[in-house]
Each structure stands twice: as structure tokens, then as C-alpha cells.
Symmetry: C2
């Protein structure tokens, strides 16, 4: 069905029906001038917004709308996780071109709501408008955190140990596989390309692709790390390890040393090595969108932290100075932020 | 200066310097994964988001970036006002094409912050990314309101009197003047058109244009109306009187009768009549973006409401049924919602 057959207000009704809030904290949800929400009086409000543009952040020839909805929610919830917070509510603003059908918008919200319900997050409002130039998605996530438990980018000191959750580089590898014509299981875009060009995936390839299309925010882990009281600073790895560690270093006027042999890789990235154009370390340092958490723990709290068994890997140490180094194969090289920067010169020359 | 000379993180720093928060409630502002904010524990959180797309919502050939920033904040604050709330914080997500300079982004935030500071609103976060297809603006406004004072679209009953703040139709008239080549004082876009095509404005024309480019949200009035306890429902007029009154009617399963001779017009719209292609009533009913408030007052509270001298005009009455009527020159005609609908067929055929 064409969206013009429904009209703006018909579309909003459909989204409202599909996204019925479940939380008693949502006093007024979709359909009024603003949402009205209850927060825990003892906590602070967390608010973050992330925009995803067709042709910049996603390519509909290999991104299905369900995955896009999922990811749009996930990248925002990841920012709440990086503060140690509990996600509570989301708002979506969509700019929709005439090439997108009502069914596709429903798929978007199916994915969006699937991710949100996993974390008891209510979709409480938004905006829909016509776009003449591709699909535009802007999401705001609201969460809450105890002031005393909140983790920011500030707080890391020389000597602090650097940890990351999960494995790194999978999302960037998944993106490369998608660009090379591989497709995941049960996902796929508009299918612009010829079917013969779509390569049949092995399970490790499908899993890497899913890591790119449907990342999982580290909501529970971020919360556990915050409640442990052991971390001094935290950030989510959205732009790539070198770039996001760079933010921590710059914020705290410190440096860092990372050990390549301690970076956690998935089995999948090794198994898919023949299909990838670069070594896993390349994806880790320069590729983004892993949405794992990077955080620092002072030596004095290491024992307590390890006793909590919060699944994570120590990859290096905060040092004095303002440089980042990578220790690899006995050599120590300077590490420069190389992650995604929207306005880097290279980006404009694309 | 090109944005690529600064890079994404350099640009964020500039915006941060320019938008220093003033409220002690902003615990963490621009520059971390999420903003951390204090709200009044006795109030409820209000949240709203609105997207503005180049080529759909604004035309940079006659919209300067200062006005665009101002308006992006104003349209969101208007939604907070329509709930009877106090605006507190904003977040902005911008998709920026390579044709936009650093100076233009600074102008955008100059306008955005000017409007925000007027109402003690802090810009606390956002997102900046490259856009390949025009300038994209998405703003989220956060506010707060006492649960007992909050006004929604629901609550109007037959017999309630319909009021509006300010004057109606000015913004739509201003837009038509801009499209016809008139320009306001101190505002102007990229100047794509030849200078000779730009008509010299009279002061009433300039004021109508300013009403379109730099609307003022009815923040104080919305708050006064809510605190009066006299209103049963409220909405802001963003899509046009017929459309937004239609939302109130639909929400409450009621009808309405409007009296054309009671609709408040500005002196400017009458004085500019020779330059406009339609009669003022057309702009009121079908044109949007006045950002005035429409609200309903039951007869039992009329005396108290009038005694408060909240500047507003009674334009009609809520009636039983589900139809809207316009009483004009002794005739009573059915009024259909004709305001802006992003996905109306007519929109797609443009």
C-alpha cells in the first residue's frame, strides 16, 4: 500500500496501533503534541539522539527495513548503556520517500519495537514527513541513572586498565561482506542487485552480517559495570576502537597503550578470513558500529571487578601523555584515531 | 570555512562552545554519549520531536540559517507549550551537505540558541553527520509539567468554547510572499535567485515574512492557560486551523462550529492584501505554521477564564456529532481538514 493512500495521520495511527506502550510510566504516548512520561524521582534523565541517512549510514539494497528499525533503536540505546543507564523511552522522526510502502514502514517499526521490547523501552512519540531525497531516520532515546552510578567519558587516569565487552571488528567485517554481495539469513534489502550476484552465506558470514545489520546494545552489561562502582570512564564503540578510545584520551588528557594480542576477536571473523579483504585488526581499529562498551578500571578495583565476572576483556592501559600506542608483535606504534568521522576529507572525496 | 576542514569532532566542539548551557540542571551537556539532566521531581517529563527537511519544510533560497535554527527550536517548543509545559532542554540532529559552511552552521546555532535562551532552554546534545541529499534537521525538546495541570488533545466536550491565541494566517501569507520573491528585513537565504527578482518589502510584508521564518512559540501563554485550570483540551496550530481543530474533534468524537467573523486577523495581513493571491481566511484554514494555541473552555469556567485576561479570541464552539462547520456571512458550510498533510495525494503529485 502506498503511504499516500493512508495519509500522514492514517500512518501515525498505524504506527500507534503497532507500538502500543506497555509501561505504566507512559502517561501520554504517540498521538498528542508531546509524550508525557514518569521517571524515577531519585534518578537523573539521560537523553541522546542519533540520525541515520540513506546513502550515508545505510544502503537499502542490502538493508531490510526490519533491520534498519532494529539498528536505529539499538544505536541510541547503546548511548544510554554507555552512561550506565536504564533505557526507558524512544521517539522516532522519519522522513519517508514515495518509494517506501506502508508495509516497509510497518517492517521498520516491527524491528524497532522488537529491540525496544527486549529492554522494556516504550516508543512514545515522533514525527513523520515526506522526504524527497531518501529515507531519513532520527531517533531519540531517553533513559535514567542514579547520579552516583553514572559513568561518563571523563574520569580515566594513567594506570587505569582498559576493558571492552564482547568481540570487536565483526560489524565492519559484516559490512564488507554485504558490500561484496554476501547476504545474511532472513535479511535483505530492496534487492536492487541481480539475484545471481547475491552469494550464499556460510553461517559465520551470516552472523557477521547480522552483527552489522542488527547490533545488540550492551544494556545489561553497561548497567552492571555502572552498578559495580569499579569503572572510572565509559564510552560505546560506535566509530571504531581507535576513534572512541581517542575520545576518552582527549577528554581526560591522557594516552593509552593497547595490546593487539589481547583484542577479543570472534571465531566468525577468523573463519570468514578468506572472504575478507583485510586482517581482523584493521576492522577493529578503523571500522565502527560494534556498539561494544569500552571502560576503564583502576588497579585498586581490579580484584573486585574481576570477582563480579562481568564478561569483558582487558586490552590495554591508560598512560600519561596524550598519545595512543599499539603494541603488536613486539613493536610499539603510534595509534591514530581512524574511525568514522562524518566530515573527514576522505569522506567528502567519495 | 568548509566543514571538512574541521571534521566532525571539531564541529561538535564549535557547537559546544557556542551553546554553553546555563542551567544547573544540565549535569552533562554536549559531548558525551548522552546528556544527563535533572528534572523537578514533582513534575512529569514532556518529550517531542520534529524533523525539518530541505526541499520539504524549508527552501534555502529564501531561508537564512539563523531563521532555520530559530524555527527548528520554536516548532518543538510549541509542542511543549501545547501541553501546558515548561520547556527545559533540546537536542539537535543535523545532516549537513558539503555545500553548507561552518559559518552557516554557526548561524543556525545562533538562531537556535537565541530562541532557546529566551525560554531558558539548554541545548544539551545531538548528532552531526554528513548528508548527501540536502540539509536535514531533527530536534527533540524536553520539558516538564505538573500532572494535574497538563493539557492534552483529549477533554473537549460539546458546549465548550473554542479559543485561539494571537492572530492566524500570517505565517502562510508570509510563505506566499517569500515564494513570490519578497524578502524580509535582515533575513535571506543563499540568494540563488537574481537580486533584481527580490522585491523590496513594506513593513507589513516584512512582519508577515518574519512570522513565517521566525515563529514565536506561545510558551508563556500555554503555561498560563494550563495553570488557570480553565481549559479542557489544547493543541498548537501547526498544520492549519481546519486540520488541528480536526484533531481535537476526532480525539474527542465531537464536532465544532467556527465563526469566520470571529477569527483574529492581523492588521498586516489586511494591509498586505494586494500582494497576496488569496483571502486571509484561506491562509487561516489551510495554511499552517502559525504555532498559535487552540484550546477549549467549558461555559462554567468562562467567567474565571476571562477574568485572567489571557490574550486570546473565542472563535467558535464544540458541538455534538463529528463534523466541523464554518459559519460565514450567514451561511453554514462543512469545514474539512485541509491543513498540511505530508502524505496527501496532492503532495505526492507535486
Amino acid at each position: 500500500m502506498k503511504i499516500s493512500d493512508l495519509g500522514e495521520f492514517g500512518l501515525i495511527k498505524k504506527i500507534k496501533e503497532q507500538s502500543k506502550g506497555r509501561s505504566p510510566s507512559t502517561l501520554i504516548g504517540i498521538g498528542d503534541d508531546a509524550a508525557a512520561l514518569s521517571l524515577s524521582p531519585s534518578k537523573k534523565l539521560l537523553a541522546t539522539t542519533d540520525m541515520l541517512l540513506e546513502g550515508v549510514h545505510f544502503d537499502l539494497s542490502y538493508t531490510d527495513l526490519y533491520s534498519l528499525g532494529w539498528k536505529s533503536a539499538a544505536v541510541n540505546l547503546s548511548d544510554i548503556a554507555a552512561m550506565g543507564g536504564i533505557p526507558r523511552f524512544c521517539l522516532t522522526a522519519l522522513g519517508i520517500p514515495s518509494t517506501i510502502s506502508v508495509e516497509q514502514i510497518k517492517e521498520f517499526y516491527k524491528g524497532f519495537n522488537a529491540l525496544c521490547r527486549k529492554y522494556n523501552v516504550d516508543l512514545v512519540g515522533g514525527d513523520t514527513c515526506r522526504s524527497e531525497k531518501g529515507l531519513v531516520v532520527s531517533v531519540t532515546a531517553l533513559g535514567e541513572v542514579e547520579k552516583s552510578k553514572m559513568l561518563t567519558r571523563a574520569g580515566a587516569q594513567p594506570g587505569d586498565l582498559i576493558f571492552v565487552t564482547g568481540t570487536l571488528g565483526d560489524s565492519a567485517a559484516g559490512l564488507e561482506l554485504l558490500k561484496a554481495g554476501y547476504r545474511g539469513h532472513g535479511t535483505g534489502g530492496r534487492g536492487k542487485g541481480s539475484k545471481s550476484a547475491i552469494r550464499n552465506p556460510q553461517s559465520e558470514i551470516a552472523r557477521l552480517i547480522t552483527k552489522h545489520l542488527q547490533p545488540v546494545p550492551r544494556t545489561e552489561w553497561g548497567r552492571k559495570i555502572a552498578l559495580s562502582g569499579c569503572a572510572t570512564a565509559m564510552i560505546d564503540i560506535s566509530d571504531g576502537l581507535s576513534s572512541d578510545l581517542g575520545h576518552i584520551c582527549e577528554e581526560n588528557r591522557v594516552g593509552a597503550e593497547i595490546r593487539a594480542d589481547q583484542i577479543p576477536f570472534s571465531k566468525d571473523i577468523h573463519k570468514a578470513a578468506d572472504h575478507l579483504k583485510a586482517i581482523p585488526l584493521h576492522y577493529v581499529l578503523s571500522g565502527g558500529e560494534d556498539y561494544e562498551l569500552l571502560f576503564t578500571v583502576p588497579p585498586s578495583k581490579l580484584k573486585k571487578f574481576l570477582s563480579l565476572k562481568i564478561s569483558s576483556t582487558q586490552i590495554g592501559t591508560i598512560i600519561a601523555g596524550n598519545k595512543m600506542f599499539l603494541r603488536d608483535d613486539g613493536k610499539r606504534v603510534v595509534l591514530k584515531p581512524k574511525g568514522f568521522n562524518h566530515f573527514a576529507r576522505a569522506e567528502y572525496s567519495l
